[in-house]
């Protein structure tokens, strides 16, 4: 910081005259930019330290991985497998983070000078330095210390999503929407991928270290339902039911215990089951149900009228599972439709305020003021979990979002859900019948053999 200030003074210092007439003093400490919408304080921008290490890492390509690979890898958990997993993490995390670091560095100066983005830049830079310095993991003890590093960093980075979202909202003054959306999508995708890798490794370590794991057991117990974070038998119907109950409960708390809530009717191929990362699925379905339920409730209706149900249809083929969420909540006005998937659309001021209320999108429920039981506990109660997974000890990065109270409208639910859906080669589509209702189609690839969707360097460098 100091060196920067010195630089400003020395190379561009005019003869500062102290006459009253001359107000053109360069204030090095901070420049207040007043705009109609917000006060952006451009502090002396984050120092740029030349780093040839970063340049080196940026050149390396990420090695995408598929759900199936993750599953097979974690199934027979021996010590050597665990070490291999640790070393994969060790390599991949710095590569992926270096790409994003470079992405932020190449944003326009004025955008990065914003305090939120600058904060994220610092976080990433520190994490990168930390990760690239980890020595080769050779023993279980090495792994344990590595895992500590991982966990700390994960916790530190819990604030990244709201900060990025706020920072980019404020950047709408300087960049156009498509650029912002492209940037946000890339950052999110990469973040999901790093967390998947890190959390999977942490979960495997936990399994390995847990009292009932036999290190010499090399064959998979056919009754295993989870491999780390991956739940092998996600049953679409059960998950929809679980999310439905949680969301309904949350909504009841916000609107009143006796407030009529639309029923969620599920039909179709009720047996459809597939392997997936449960927290991702619960997040997406939770967002979609939340949108529908809230929209239905907010429709004006007479006191005794029951709200129209939300119909969920599950459709299974050998390659995929498709879920259709169909509500009669009045649809989406045409003028909003183009901005639905954007991270940087209108209603900024309110959303910035709300985003500031979600301090960390992570499992620290105590900070969210909700009366009665914590929302996290409600969620745990209502979701169907197998006995072998002990999620309450490890909330994961999405549980904060999943169990936030309904009046906390962040405005990024749909684009985020889409990033999650597309992450494992799925898709999310929306059709609106304006004045009547909305249909949302979520497609999940069942086979798990598609690689994660990352933004490669080639596509980033291409115009």
């Amino acid at each position: 910081m100091h060196s920067f200030k010195a630089a400003v003074f020395s190379c561009s210092a005019p003869r500062i005259s102290f006459t009253a007439a001359s107000r053109s003093i360069i204030r090095p400490a901070s420049v207040r930019v007043r705009s109609a919408h917000c006060n952006t304080t451009i502090k002396a921008a984050p120092t740029w330290r030349p780093s040839s290490a970063l340049d080196e890492w940026v050149q390396r390509e990420a090695r995408p991985i598929s759900l199936r690979q993750l599953t097979f890898f974690g199934r027979s958990l021996t010590e050597s497998r665990l070490i291999d997993s640790a070393n994969y993490c060790r390599e991949e995390l710095p590569i992926r983070i270096s790409h994003r670091l470079r992405d932020i560095q190449t944003l326009p100066y004025v955008v990065v000078a914003n305090s939120d983005i600058a904060h994220v830049l610092e976080l990433y830079r520190t994490a990168f330095e930390r990760f690239r310095r980890v020595p080769v993991v050779r023993t279980v003890e090495d792994n344990d210390s590595y895992c500590k590093v991982l966990q700390e960093t994960l916790k530190e980075h819990a604030t990244v999503i709201p900060k990025l979202a706020i920072g980019m909202l404020e950047a709408t003054k300087f960049m156009n929407y498509q650029e912002i959306d492209k940037f946000m999508n890339t950052m999110l995708r990469s973040r999901i991928s790093r967390r998947v890798i890190a959390e999977q490794h942490l979960a495997l370590t936990e399994t390995f270290n847990s009292p009932w794991h036999f290190p010499h057991q090399s064959l998979l117990d056919p009754n295993t339902e989870t491999v780390g974070e991956i739940f092998l038998r996600c049953n679409a119907k059960e998950i929809v039911e679980g999310c439905g109950k949680t969301t309904s409960e949350l909504v009841r708390r916000a609107y009143g215990i006796n407030h009529p809530i639309p029923e969620i009717k599920i039909k179709g191929h009720l047996e459809a089951t597939f392997p997936y990362i449960l927290s991702h699925l619960e997040y997406i379905i939770g967002e979609l149900l939340r949108n529908s339920i809230q929209a239905v409730i907010e429709q004006p209706r007479s006191k005794d009228e029951t709200p129209p149900p939300i119909e969920v249809t599950i459709c299974e083929t050998p390659q995929q599972v498709m879920m259709r969420f169909s509500d009669q909540a009045g649809g989406i006005p045409t003028e909003i439709l183009p901005n639905l998937w954007s991270f940087s659309n209108s209603r900024r001021a309110k959303r910035i305020e709300n985003l500031n209320r979600v301090p960390k999108l992570l499992g620290t429920m105590h900070e969210l003021q909700v009366p009665g039981k914590s929302t996290h506990e409600i969620h745990m109660e209502n979701a169907n979990k197998s006995k072998q997974t002990d999620f309450s000890n490890y909330p994961g990065s999405l549980s904060g979002l999943t169990s936030r109270p309904p009046d906390l409208r962040l405005g990024i639910g749909l684009p985020m859900s889409r990033v999650y859906a597309e992450y494992w080669a799925g898709s999310l589509e929306l059709h609106s019948l304006e004045g009547f209702g909305t249909d949302v189609f979520l497609q999940i690839s069942k086979l798990g053999n598609k690689n994660e969707t990352l933004t490669t360097r080639a596509s980033m460098d291409a115009v």
């Binding site: 191929h269 249809t313 083929t317 259709r324 649809g331 045409t334 609106s432 304006e434």
Partner: protein, 467 residues
């Protein structure tokens, strides 16, 4: 034998109201004798080049109704005739140029060549009028004959083109065919609409409608030419359901039924013939899929959802009718000739993109079936012309001779029992339906739930609030 694709409005009970016996006898209805009696002048290449270089303006529904509500006065009728005259020749010339830019070997095909001749003929009947305005009623009647001839000459275009392209499939790729047809058929929608609108207004105008001979206490019609200002989509759906389920029963022995929900009483202003075509095609697809999937007990669900109106909505600024939706740009020529037509900068010029009138009510119609969805390998091709999951022999046989398939394509409307005997035709239903929907700024979206069924979302915009 009904060869004339009269707009539904003319076929129906309104015909009697508008067209009293005295006028009918004057035979504004064509016969081939009249084609020869029309005054024509030779079309030179210069004419075509000159006319094709004129820019085309997007046509809105508002344009069609701006001359007034029927019955039109003489003045209004003449203004409608002059408006029609001012825009048709350029459009025809564009089509001729576009056709001439197709590969030689394709245009040599007798069918395609026939279409080319038809356009030349029509332009030749219009050229004598191009210099002057229509100022008298006699001129206007003659002009109406020209319009009738135009409509009749081009009534079989689609089937003839289909046959021509099928025969030339070795010489032109399906992608190029689709691109050409997308544009050509959209432009054709426009030219037919303009001509038929004027004809319908002509029939219902004061000079040609002897009020004293008819019951003058009838309520004013809701029609303005071919536009029905109180069109009820639910009624059209029921009408189409009746037709399609007949065919279905004929072919498969079972008859799925349709359930209409949403707001069945909703009405808006649109062209009944277009809507009928689209809904018939979509229902045909749904019925066939439903039956072949063994789900005939399941109803096909049609939801009618009117647009909501918001005060001062920014809806207008985003709702535009543009040249590419209406096939006015002739981008296809670029493919084959390698250079763009002279006014290709047109699409950037915002003056040519006309916003729709304020508060344009519209409707979304969702058709939901349990037909098992569309297989992924087929899904990529559903918008191709001549893509059909019927095998090629059947397709060829429906094209040859006087088969019902052709009749289906000729008549714009579903046409009663007029020979629509096949549920699957030549693969034109979806792309042509989309052309009709998109012509005035609507859309068709197909959402596939492979393994369960299909949802189709049809959005249509109406004409703005009329006085």
């Amino acid at each position: 034998m009904s060869q004339i694709p009269r707009p539904l409005s003319l076929q129906s009970q309104y015909f009697g109201r508008w067209c009293p016996l005295s006028v009918r006898k004057q035979s504004v209805l064509p016969s081939s004798r009249y084609a020869r009696r029309l005054h024509t002048s030779t079309v030179t290449d210069d004419d075509i080049a000159r006319l094709a270089s004129l820019p085309l303006h997007p046509l809105t529904l508002a344009d069609l109704v701006k001359h007034g509500r029927p019955p039109l006065s003489t003045q209004q009728l003449l203004s409608s005739a002059n408006f029609t005259l001012s825009i048709l020749p350029a459009r025809l010339a564009h089509r001729i140029r576009s056709l001439r830019n197709l590969p030689f070997i394709v245009v040599s095909n007798p069918n395609i060549s026939q279409i080319h001749q038809n356009y030349l003929h029509s332009l030749s009947t219009l050229l004598p009028w191009a210099e002057k305005d229509i100022k008298t009623l006699e001129d206007e009647v003659k002009f109406a004959e020209v319009m009738t001839d135009l409509v009749q000459t081009h009534s079989n275009t689609i089937s003839i083109l289909a046959r021509g392209f099928l025969e030339s499939r070795k010489y032109i790729s399906p992608k190029d065919v689709t691109r050409f047809l997308d544009e050509h058929l959209r432009a054709r929608i426009g030219t037919r609409l303009i001509a038929e609108q004027h004809l319908a207004l002509h029939m219902s105008s004061q000079p040609h409608y002897d009020i004293s001979e008819e019951d003058s206490s009838e309520a004013p019609s809701d029609f303005i030419g071919v536009i029905d200002t109180k069109l009820r989509p639910a009624k059209i759906v029921q009408h189409c359901e009746a037709i399609v389920s007949e065919i279905c029963e004929l072919r498969y022995g079972v008859r799925p039924h349709v359930v209409i929900n949403g707001v069945p009483d909703y009405t808006f202003a649109h062209i009944p013939v277009h809507l009928e075509y689209i809904i018939t095609e979509l229902l045909k697809n749904s019925f066939r899929a439903t039956v072949e999937n063994g789900m005939e007990r399941e109803p096909i669900e049609v939801t009618i959802a009117p647009f909501t109106q918001e005060n001062g909505s920014r809806f207008e600024s985003q709702a535009t009718v543009n040249n590419s939706d209406q096939g006015n740009l002739d981008v296809v020529s670029k493919t084959f000739t390698g250079h763009s037509p002279p006014e290709s900068t047109l699409n950037v010029d915002s003056e040519h993109i006309r916003p729709l009138a304020r508060s344009t009510p519209g409707v979304t119609i969702r058709i939901r079936d349990r037909g098992g969805g569309i297989a992924p390998e087929n899904y990529a091709h559903i918008w191709d012309y001549s893509f059909t999951t019927f095998n090629e022999d059947e397709a060829s046989s429906t094209l040859g001779g006087v088969s019902p398939g052709i009749e289906a394509l000729n008549t714009i409307s579903g046409g009663g029992g007029d020979g629509v005997h096949s549920l699957a035709g030549l693969g034109y239903g979806l792309p042509l339906g989309r052309a009709y929907a998109e012509y005035f700024g609507g859309s068709i979206k197909v959402q596939n739930l492979y393994g369960w069924g299909t949802d189709v979302y049809l959005r249509l915009r109406g004409v703005g609030k009329l006085d």
